[in-house]
């Protein structure tokens, strides 16, 4: 059974208002599949019944649960590999030179879902940073449920199989019930916090590297632009921005330039040229 057009419009409107994510028609099956557990949890027999009740009697907690269910994605460790290779092979060596006076790096994993990306970044940094260097990683996600999970650092057997080299598994995790838990040594230096990238962002110290991957694809161009503007304010002028493989700043925000690194690319703020300097060179 599939969702009625009006129920779909109700959910799409809610998700759009709360997260700016656009659910286009054709996603009825996805909505139905993701909402069924939420509906069951709420004591409804079906998604239709759950939504009917919610439209009669609004419930912020149920709205939150719907947004959570529709904005989270399954994710693997070192997802797509190349950005992590680019980080350790090209970005870190440069930062190790340019930040040699304070020997400290700040990384932001925006839209970190259940935490695989920030933990993968921590593994990469622990392996690649010279002795005596410190790092701090901030992991944020729109979903409070995901932030809770990421913060707990516990993963099922199925999850640890996905893209995580087994040497890293035995080094950075310990068995916990039927799953695995990250070690305190990997968990430290990571802060998790709920954050909506389309709303005004809280003040944070600027970052050297920002991973903003597979987020922009959900947004229309106006929202993409505003997210990139928000995020770029928190990137140091010589910092690095990583987007998903299907994403780019080109045609959206011209204040970034694209830098090819191996088989992938990253984005850096363009050097601001004073207006008077134009045309002289």
């Amino acid at each position: 059974m599939t969702l009625s057009a009006s129920d779909f419009a109700f959910v799409a409107g809610l998700v759009r208002r709360e997260s700016a994510i656009v659910l286009t028609p054709g996603k009825e099956y996805l909505v139905e599949a993701r909402l069924l557990p939420v509906a069951r949890q709420a004591g409804a027999a079906s998604v239709a019944e759950f939504l009917a009740g919610l439209q009669r009697r609004p419930d912020p907690a149920a709205n939150r649960a719907i947004v959570d269910a529709l904005t989270t994605n399954e994710t693997s460790w070192f997802r797509d590999r190349e950005p992590f290779t680019a980080l350790t092979d090209a970005v870190l060596p440069e930062l190790v030179t340019s930040r040699s006076s304070n020997r400290s790096l700040r990384i932001w994993s925006a839209a970190c879902s259940s935490g695989q990306e920030p933990y993968s970044l921590a593994m990469s940094l622990q392996q690649a940073l010279p002795a005596g260097w410190r790092y701090h990683i901030t992991g944020t996600d729109i979903s409070t449920e995901m932030i809770k999970r990421a913060s707990a650092g516990e993963f099922s057997q199925v999850e640890v199989n996905r893209g995580l080299p087994v040497q890293q598994l035995v080094h950075h995790f310990t068995r916990s019930g039927t799953g695995w838990k990250v070690t305190p040594a990997l968990r430290e230096n990571i802060t998790f916090q709920q954050m909506n990238l389309t709303a005004p962002l809280p003040s944070m110290a600027p970052f050297d590297v920002i991973f903003l991957r597979n987020v922009l694809i959900y947004f229309d161009v106006e929202t993409k632009r505003s997210v990139l503007r928000n995020v770029s304010r928190l990137l140091r002028p010589d910092g690095w921005l990583f987007l998903g493989a299907a994403e780019t700043t080109i045609g959206v925000d011209e204040s970034f330039e694209r830098v090819a690194i191996g088989r992938t690319s990253a984005y850096r703020p363009r050097v601001q040229v004073p207006a008077g300097a134009l045309g002289k060179g």
């Binding site: 693997s76 797509d80 057997q157 199925v158 199989n161 080299p165 087994v166 598994l169 035995v170 068995r175």
Partner: protein, 117 residues
């Protein structure tokens, strides 16, 4: 399980042979003209278990190029460490999704990255 693995790697273009246990696998390998690129090895098998097979395969110079991946329900840290020490290259714990298997093979350079997308 063998059927599932056969289907997953078959779809990736591998030609697949299978054996009942470690001893049968060594016999099968001895009769092959070309050594396979990859062996997917369960831990619990009669006659010769997966750990013994991995150890034996690592001792055979002819099988040096063959990548060894344990695919097993044995999920204790100590088991994984023993398999790696014996010479296994990767370790996939059941249950797993076909994406997980493909990603592990991509890590090992046996299939191109992103083969599942």
């Amino acid at each position: 399980m063998r059927l599932i693995l056969r289907r997953i790697v078959g779809q990736l273009g591998f030609e697949v042979s299978d054996a009942e246990d470690g001893r049968a696998a060594l016999d099968l390998l001895a009769g092959m003209e070309t050594v396979p690129n990859l062996a997917l090895v369960d831990w619990n098998m009669p006659n010769m278990n997966g750990l013994e097979f991995v150890t034996a395969a690592r001792e055979d110079p002819r099988l040096r190029e063959m990548t060894l991946v344990m695919v097993t329900t044995e999920s204790e840290q100590s088991h994984i460490v023993r398999a790696l020490a014996a010479g296994a290259h990767e370790y996939v714990i059941k249950p797993f999704t076909s994406e997980a298997m493909i990603e592990k093979l991509a890590l090992l350079g046996l299939v191109p990255t992103g083969a599942n997308t």
